[in-house]
Protein backbone atom coordinates (compact mmCIF):
# COMPACT_ATOMS: atom_id res chain seq x y z
CA UNK A 1 0.00 0.00 0.00
CA UNK A 2 1.28 3.45 -0.69
CA UNK A 3 2.36 5.36 2.39
CA UNK A 4 -0.41 7.95 2.50
CA UNK A 5 -3.13 5.49 1.49
CA UNK A 6 -2.15 3.47 4.54
CA UNK A 7 -2.13 6.54 6.73
CA UNK A 8 -5.60 7.53 5.46
CA UNK A 9 -6.99 4.02 5.98
CA UNK A 10 -5.63 3.80 9.50
CA UNK A 11 -6.90 7.29 10.35
CA UNK A 12 -10.34 6.26 9.14
CA UNK A 13 -10.29 3.11 11.25
CA UNK A 14 -8.98 5.00 14.25
CA UNK A 15 -11.84 7.47 14.11
CA UNK A 16 -14.24 4.53 13.92
CA UNK A 17 -12.53 2.89 16.90
CA UNK A 18 -12.54 6.16 18.83
CA UNK A 19 -16.28 6.71 18.27
CA UNK A 20 -17.03 3.19 19.41
CA UNK A 21 -14.85 3.50 22.52
CA UNK A 22 -16.49 6.79 23.45
CA UNK A 23 -20.03 5.49 23.08
CA UNK A 24 -18.89 2.43 25.04
CA UNK A 25 -17.45 4.48 27.87
CA UNK A 26 -20.70 6.46 27.97
CA UNK A 27 -22.35 3.30 29.19
CA UNK A 28 -19.76 3.02 32.01
CA UNK A 29 -20.95 4.29 35.46
CA UNK A 30 -18.10 6.79 35.94
CA UNK A 31 -17.51 7.88 39.49
CA UNK A 32 -19.83 5.13 40.77
CA UNK A 33 -17.36 2.23 40.48
CA UNK A 34 -19.15 -1.00 41.47
CA UNK A 35 -16.42 -1.41 44.17
CA UNK A 36 -17.42 -5.10 44.46
CA UNK A 37 -14.04 -6.02 45.94
CA UNK A 38 -12.59 -2.58 46.59
CA UNK A 39 -15.16 -1.80 49.33
CA UNK A 40 -14.42 -5.02 51.23
CA UNK A 41 -10.65 -4.51 50.99
CA UNK A 42 -10.88 -0.83 52.05
CA UNK A 43 -12.87 -1.92 55.09
CA UNK A 44 -10.64 -4.72 56.35
CA UNK A 45 -7.18 -3.68 55.06
CA UNK A 46 -6.10 -2.08 58.32
CA UNK A 47 -6.74 -4.93 60.70
CA UNK A 48 -5.64 -7.59 58.16
CA UNK A 49 -2.27 -6.12 57.34
CA UNK A 50 -1.81 -3.12 59.59
CA UNK A 51 -0.73 -0.97 56.66
CA UNK A 52 -2.30 2.45 56.50
CA UNK A 53 -1.52 2.78 52.78
CA UNK A 54 -4.30 0.47 51.53
CA UNK A 55 -2.82 0.41 48.00
CA UNK A 56 0.37 -1.06 49.47
CA UNK A 57 -1.79 -3.52 51.42
CA UNK A 58 -3.47 -4.57 48.19
CA UNK A 59 -0.13 -4.69 46.38
CA UNK A 60 1.73 -6.77 48.94
CA UNK A 61 -0.92 -8.74 50.79
CA UNK A 62 -4.14 -9.22 48.87
CA UNK A 63 -2.50 -9.28 45.43
CA UNK A 64 1.00 -10.22 46.53
CA UNK A 65 1.42 -12.64 43.66
CA UNK A 66 0.82 -9.85 41.13
CA UNK A 67 3.70 -7.95 42.64
CA UNK A 68 5.92 -11.04 42.59
CA UNK A 69 4.96 -11.49 38.94
CA UNK A 70 5.70 -7.86 38.25
CA UNK A 71 9.15 -8.10 39.79
CA UNK A 72 9.70 -11.23 37.77
CA UNK A 73 8.73 -9.33 34.60
CA UNK A 74 11.26 -6.63 35.33
CA UNK A 75 13.84 -9.31 36.00
CA UNK A 76 12.96 -11.12 32.76
CA UNK A 77 13.17 -7.90 30.81
CA UNK A 78 16.54 -7.12 32.33
CA UNK A 79 17.89 -10.61 31.63
CA UNK A 80 16.52 -10.58 28.09
CA UNK A 81 18.02 -7.14 27.45
CA UNK A 82 21.30 -8.42 28.84
CA UNK A 83 21.10 -11.42 26.57
CA UNK A 84 20.26 -9.28 23.55
CA UNK A 85 22.84 -6.62 24.20
CA UNK A 86 25.47 -9.12 25.31
CA UNK A 87 27.93 -6.28 25.44
CA UNK A 88 30.89 -8.10 27.00
CA UNK A 89 33.09 -6.28 24.56
CA UNK A 90 31.46 -2.90 24.98
CA UNK A 91 34.12 -1.58 27.40
CA UNK A 92 35.03 1.64 25.61
CA UNK A 93 31.65 3.43 25.94
CA UNK A 94 32.58 6.42 23.85
CA UNK A 95 30.41 9.52 24.01
CA UNK A 96 30.81 13.28 24.45
CA UNK A 97 31.41 14.25 28.11
CA UNK A 98 28.37 15.92 29.78
CA UNK A 99 28.17 19.67 30.31
CA UNK A 100 29.71 21.32 33.39
CA UNK A 101 26.37 21.94 35.13
CA UNK A 102 25.45 18.26 34.92
CA UNK A 103 28.82 17.10 36.19
CA UNK A 104 28.71 19.46 39.15
CA UNK A 105 25.06 18.83 40.02
CA UNK A 106 25.50 15.04 39.65
CA UNK A 107 27.87 14.83 42.59
CA UNK A 108 25.52 17.06 44.63
CA UNK A 109 22.30 15.27 43.73
CA UNK A 110 23.51 11.74 44.41
CA UNK A 111 23.13 11.72 48.26
CA UNK A 112 19.72 13.50 48.18
CA UNK A 113 18.35 11.04 45.67
CA UNK A 114 19.58 8.18 47.81
CA UNK A 115 17.90 9.54 50.96
CA UNK A 116 14.64 10.33 49.20
CA UNK A 117 14.56 6.90 47.55
CA UNK A 118 15.28 5.10 50.82
CA UNK A 119 12.58 7.10 52.63
CA UNK A 120 9.90 6.28 50.07
CA UNK A 121 10.81 2.61 50.11
CA UNK A 122 10.82 2.32 53.90
CA UNK A 123 7.58 4.25 54.40
CA UNK A 124 5.87 2.43 51.61
CA UNK A 125 3.20 0.88 53.85
CA UNK A 126 2.39 4.13 55.60
CA UNK A 127 2.49 6.95 53.11
CA UNK A 128 1.89 6.97 49.34
CA UNK A 129 4.74 5.39 47.37
CA UNK A 130 6.57 2.17 48.01
CA UNK A 131 9.11 -0.28 46.68
CA UNK A 132 8.64 0.53 42.98
CA UNK A 133 8.58 4.31 43.26
CA UNK A 134 11.50 4.34 45.72
CA UNK A 135 13.41 1.84 43.60
CA UNK A 136 13.02 4.07 40.55
CA UNK A 137 14.46 7.01 42.44
CA UNK A 138 17.37 4.88 43.66
CA UNK A 139 18.00 3.78 40.09
CA UNK A 140 18.00 7.43 39.02
CA UNK A 141 20.46 8.08 41.79
CA UNK A 142 22.92 5.57 40.34
CA UNK A 143 22.24 6.62 36.75
CA UNK A 144 22.89 10.35 37.14
CA UNK A 145 26.68 9.95 37.65
CA UNK A 146 26.73 7.73 34.55
CA UNK A 147 25.09 10.54 32.56
CA UNK A 148 27.66 12.93 33.95
CA UNK A 149 30.64 10.78 33.08
CA UNK A 150 29.59 8.52 30.22
CA UNK A 151 33.16 7.26 29.78
CA UNK A 152 33.35 5.79 33.29
CA UNK A 153 33.19 1.98 33.26
CA UNK A 154 30.10 0.55 34.87
CA UNK A 155 30.55 -2.50 37.07
CA UNK A 156 27.49 -4.71 37.16
CA UNK A 157 28.90 -6.91 39.86
CA UNK A 158 27.32 -5.25 42.85
CA UNK A 159 24.03 -4.63 41.09
CA UNK A 160 23.49 -8.29 40.16
CA UNK A 161 24.29 -9.52 43.66
CA UNK A 162 21.82 -7.06 45.22
CA UNK A 163 19.27 -7.91 42.59
CA UNK A 164 19.59 -11.65 43.15
CA UNK A 165 19.33 -11.51 46.91
CA UNK A 166 16.42 -9.06 46.94
CA UNK A 167 14.41 -11.28 44.60
CA UNK A 168 15.31 -14.36 46.64
CA UNK A 169 14.25 -12.66 49.89
CA UNK A 170 10.84 -11.83 48.43
CA UNK A 171 10.20 -15.44 47.38
CA UNK A 172 11.63 -16.86 50.64
CA UNK A 173 9.22 -14.69 52.68
CA UNK A 174 6.46 -16.03 50.50
CA UNK A 175 7.60 -19.63 50.97
CA UNK A 176 7.94 -19.08 54.73
CA UNK A 177 4.15 -18.81 54.86
CA UNK A 178 3.96 -22.11 53.00
CA UNK A 179 6.27 -23.92 55.42
CA UNK A 180 4.00 -23.12 58.34
CA UNK A 181 1.14 -24.85 56.54
CA UNK A 182 -0.50 -21.54 55.59
CA UNK A 183 -0.76 -20.13 52.05
CA UNK A 184 1.95 -18.55 49.94
CA UNK A 185 2.82 -14.87 50.77
CA UNK A 186 0.86 -14.86 54.06
CA UNK A 187 1.52 -11.55 55.92
CA UNK A 188 3.79 -12.61 58.81
CA UNK A 189 5.00 -10.96 62.05
CA UNK A 190 1.58 -9.59 63.11
CA UNK A 191 0.01 -6.23 62.18
CA UNK A 192 1.69 -4.05 64.81
CA UNK A 193 0.21 -0.67 65.79
CA UNK A 194 -0.94 1.17 62.71
CA UNK A 195 0.95 4.35 61.90
CA UNK A 196 4.40 3.63 63.30
CA UNK A 197 7.41 2.56 61.29
CA UNK A 198 7.70 -1.07 62.27
CA UNK A 199 4.08 -2.05 61.71
CA UNK A 200 2.25 -4.16 59.06
CA UNK A 201 4.42 -7.22 59.70
CA UNK A 202 6.34 -8.54 56.71
CA UNK A 203 5.03 -5.91 54.24
CA UNK A 204 7.86 -3.42 54.75
CA UNK A 205 10.40 -6.21 54.35
CA UNK A 206 8.79 -7.13 51.06
CA UNK A 207 8.81 -3.48 49.98
CA UNK A 208 12.47 -3.19 50.94
CA UNK A 209 13.30 -6.21 48.83
CA UNK A 210 11.29 -4.77 45.94
CA UNK A 211 12.93 -1.38 46.31
CA UNK A 212 16.44 -2.79 46.16
CA UNK A 213 15.62 -5.13 43.30
CA UNK A 214 13.89 -2.50 41.18
CA UNK A 215 16.62 0.02 41.90
CA UNK A 216 19.49 -2.27 40.92
CA UNK A 217 17.65 -3.70 37.91
CA UNK A 218 16.63 -0.38 36.41
CA UNK A 219 20.10 1.03 36.98
CA UNK A 220 21.72 -1.99 35.38
CA UNK A 221 19.26 -1.89 32.49
CA UNK A 222 19.77 1.78 31.72
CA UNK A 223 23.52 1.42 32.05
CA UNK A 224 23.55 -1.48 29.66
CA UNK A 225 21.46 0.35 27.07
CA UNK A 226 23.65 3.43 27.36
CA UNK A 227 26.77 1.29 27.09
CA UNK A 228 25.39 -0.37 23.98
CA UNK A 229 25.77 2.99 22.20
CA UNK A 230 23.31 5.73 21.42
CA UNK A 231 21.21 4.56 18.44
CA UNK A 232 21.23 8.11 17.04
CA UNK A 233 25.06 8.25 16.96
CA UNK A 234 25.36 4.69 15.67
CA UNK A 235 26.78 5.12 12.11
CA UNK A 236 24.28 5.64 9.23
CA UNK A 237 21.08 7.61 9.13
CA UNK A 238 17.94 6.69 11.09
Amino acid sequence: MKGNARAFASALFLIGLGLMLVTLFEALPFGGAPMQVGQAIAGRALEDTGATNIVSAVLLAYRGLDTLGEVAILFVAATAAGLVLGGAGRAEAQGTPAGFILRAAAALLFPFLLVLGAYIVIHGHLTPGGGFQGGAILAAAFFVPLLAHPASPVNHGVATVVEAFAGAVFVVIGLAGLVGGGAFLVPLLGAGTPGDLFSAGSLPLLYLAIGLKVGSELAGLMARIAAAGDPARQGGKA
Partner: protein, 156 residues
Protein backbone atom coordinates in the same frame (compact mmCIF):
# COMPACT_ATOMS: atom_id res chain seq x y z
CA UNK B 1 -22.41 13.96 41.93
CA UNK B 2 -21.51 17.56 41.57
CA UNK B 3 -21.09 19.15 38.16
CA UNK B 4 -17.31 19.32 38.25
CA UNK B 5 -17.04 15.57 39.09
CA UNK B 6 -19.14 14.84 36.00
CA UNK B 7 -16.92 17.07 33.88
CA UNK B 8 -13.79 15.48 35.42
CA UNK B 9 -15.07 12.02 34.52
CA UNK B 10 -15.71 13.04 30.93
CA UNK B 11 -12.28 14.66 30.70
CA UNK B 12 -10.53 11.58 32.14
CA UNK B 13 -12.23 9.15 29.75
CA UNK B 14 -11.80 11.49 26.79
CA UNK B 15 -8.13 11.81 27.70
CA UNK B 16 -7.76 8.04 27.90
CA UNK B 17 -9.46 7.54 24.52
CA UNK B 18 -7.30 10.23 22.90
CA UNK B 19 -4.13 8.69 24.26
CA UNK B 20 -5.20 5.26 23.02
CA UNK B 21 -6.00 6.62 19.55
CA UNK B 22 -2.72 8.54 19.38
CA UNK B 23 -0.82 5.49 20.50
CA UNK B 24 -2.54 3.31 17.88
CA UNK B 25 -1.90 5.90 15.16
CA UNK B 26 1.72 6.02 16.31
CA UNK B 27 2.01 2.23 16.00
CA UNK B 28 0.23 1.75 12.69
CA UNK B 29 1.30 4.58 10.40
CA UNK B 30 5.00 5.33 10.89
CA UNK B 31 7.68 3.31 9.12
CA UNK B 32 10.43 3.88 11.67
CA UNK B 33 10.60 1.21 14.39
CA UNK B 34 11.64 3.75 17.01
CA UNK B 35 8.48 5.78 16.42
CA UNK B 36 6.39 2.62 16.65
CA UNK B 37 7.95 1.82 20.06
CA UNK B 38 7.08 5.33 21.24
CA UNK B 39 3.56 4.88 19.88
CA UNK B 40 3.38 1.75 22.00
CA UNK B 41 4.29 3.77 25.11
CA UNK B 42 1.52 6.28 24.39
CA UNK B 43 -0.99 3.47 23.89
CA UNK B 44 -0.03 1.84 27.21
CA UNK B 45 -0.28 5.10 29.09
CA UNK B 46 -3.75 5.63 27.62
CA UNK B 47 -4.88 2.19 28.77
CA UNK B 48 -3.35 2.75 32.22
CA UNK B 49 -5.19 6.06 32.53
CA UNK B 50 -8.45 4.31 31.70
CA UNK B 51 -7.66 1.56 34.22
CA UNK B 52 -7.19 4.10 37.02
CA UNK B 53 -10.27 6.04 35.99
CA UNK B 54 -12.29 2.83 36.30
CA UNK B 55 -11.78 2.90 40.09
CA UNK B 56 -12.60 6.61 40.62
CA UNK B 57 -15.46 7.52 42.94
CA UNK B 58 -16.69 11.11 42.88
CA UNK B 59 -17.21 11.69 46.61
CA UNK B 60 -14.34 9.50 47.89
CA UNK B 61 -10.85 10.27 49.19
CA UNK B 62 -7.52 8.64 48.41
CA UNK B 63 -7.11 5.20 50.01
CA UNK B 64 -4.55 6.34 52.60
CA UNK B 65 -5.72 6.20 56.23
CA UNK B 66 -4.64 9.22 58.20
CA UNK B 67 -4.03 9.67 61.95
CA UNK B 68 -7.02 8.14 63.79
CA UNK B 69 -6.30 4.98 61.72
CA UNK B 70 -9.86 3.67 61.93
CA UNK B 71 -11.63 2.57 58.75
CA UNK B 72 -14.85 4.38 59.49
CA UNK B 73 -13.11 7.66 60.35
CA UNK B 74 -11.72 8.17 56.86
CA UNK B 75 -15.13 8.03 55.12
CA UNK B 76 -15.68 6.58 51.62
CA UNK B 77 -12.38 5.64 49.91
CA UNK B 78 -11.56 5.40 46.20
CA UNK B 79 -11.22 1.82 44.96
CA UNK B 80 -7.58 0.85 45.80
CA UNK B 81 -7.44 -2.20 43.56
CA UNK B 82 -7.14 -0.44 40.15
CA UNK B 83 -4.34 1.72 41.57
CA UNK B 84 -2.43 -1.41 42.46
CA UNK B 85 -3.14 -2.85 39.03
CA UNK B 86 -1.93 0.32 37.33
CA UNK B 87 1.33 0.17 39.24
CA UNK B 88 1.90 -3.34 37.93
CA UNK B 89 0.85 -2.35 34.40
CA UNK B 90 3.28 0.59 34.39
CA UNK B 91 6.17 -1.61 35.48
CA UNK B 92 5.25 -4.14 32.79
CA UNK B 93 5.28 -1.28 30.28
CA UNK B 94 8.75 -0.25 31.43
CA UNK B 95 10.08 -3.79 31.21
CA UNK B 96 8.75 -4.34 27.70
CA UNK B 97 9.96 -0.90 26.60
CA UNK B 98 13.47 -1.59 27.89
CA UNK B 99 13.66 -4.87 25.99
CA UNK B 100 12.16 -3.18 22.93
CA UNK B 101 14.85 -0.53 22.93
CA UNK B 102 17.57 -3.13 23.34
CA UNK B 103 16.19 -4.96 20.30
CA UNK B 104 15.94 -1.69 18.36
CA UNK B 105 19.65 -1.13 19.02
CA UNK B 106 20.48 -4.59 17.79
CA UNK B 107 18.29 -4.32 14.67
CA UNK B 108 19.90 -0.97 13.83
CA UNK B 109 23.32 -2.60 14.07
CA UNK B 110 22.32 -5.70 12.16
CA UNK B 111 20.49 -4.00 9.29
CA UNK B 112 21.70 -0.40 9.44
CA UNK B 113 18.12 0.86 9.11
CA UNK B 114 14.99 1.03 11.21
CA UNK B 115 12.52 1.16 8.37
CA UNK B 116 10.02 -1.67 8.88
CA UNK B 117 9.82 -2.62 5.18
CA UNK B 118 13.58 -2.69 4.75
CA UNK B 119 14.02 -4.78 7.86
CA UNK B 120 11.21 -7.14 6.82
CA UNK B 121 12.67 -7.64 3.32
CA UNK B 122 16.23 -8.21 4.54
CA UNK B 123 15.03 -10.57 7.27
CA UNK B 124 12.98 -12.63 4.86
CA UNK B 125 15.90 -12.81 2.47
CA UNK B 126 18.20 -13.79 5.28
CA UNK B 127 16.10 -16.66 6.63
CA UNK B 128 14.03 -17.57 3.58
CA UNK B 129 16.32 -17.71 0.66
CA UNK B 130 19.61 -18.10 2.42
CA UNK B 131 19.77 -21.64 3.80
CA UNK B 132 23.26 -20.99 5.11
CA UNK B 133 21.87 -19.37 8.28
CA UNK B 134 22.72 -22.27 10.57
CA UNK B 135 23.43 -21.84 14.22
CA UNK B 136 27.19 -21.88 13.56
CA UNK B 137 27.05 -19.14 10.93
CA UNK B 138 25.28 -16.61 13.19
CA UNK B 139 26.36 -13.07 12.40
CA UNK B 140 28.25 -11.73 15.39
CA UNK B 141 26.45 -8.67 16.80
CA UNK B 142 29.38 -6.39 16.13
CA UNK B 143 29.69 -7.03 12.38
CA UNK B 144 28.63 -3.98 10.30
CA UNK B 145 25.91 -4.74 7.74
CA UNK B 146 27.15 -4.72 4.14
CA UNK B 147 24.90 -2.04 2.62
CA UNK B 148 24.57 0.71 5.20
CA UNK B 149 21.99 2.99 3.53
CA UNK B 150 18.53 2.28 2.04
CA UNK B 151 18.79 0.20 -1.13
CA UNK B 152 16.26 -0.02 -3.95
CA UNK B 153 14.62 -3.22 -2.92
CA UNK B 154 13.79 -1.84 0.53
CA UNK B 155 10.91 0.06 -1.03
CA UNK B 156 7.58 -1.21 0.38
Amino acid sequence: MTMDAEMLGKALYAGAVCLVLLGLYGMVVPRNLMRIVLGLVLLESGVNLFLVAAGFRADAAAPILTAPFTAQAAGPLVDPVPQALVLTAIVIGVGVLALGLALVVRVKEAYGTLDTHAVANRMARETGADPAVTAAGARTPGALPVAAGRTAEDAP
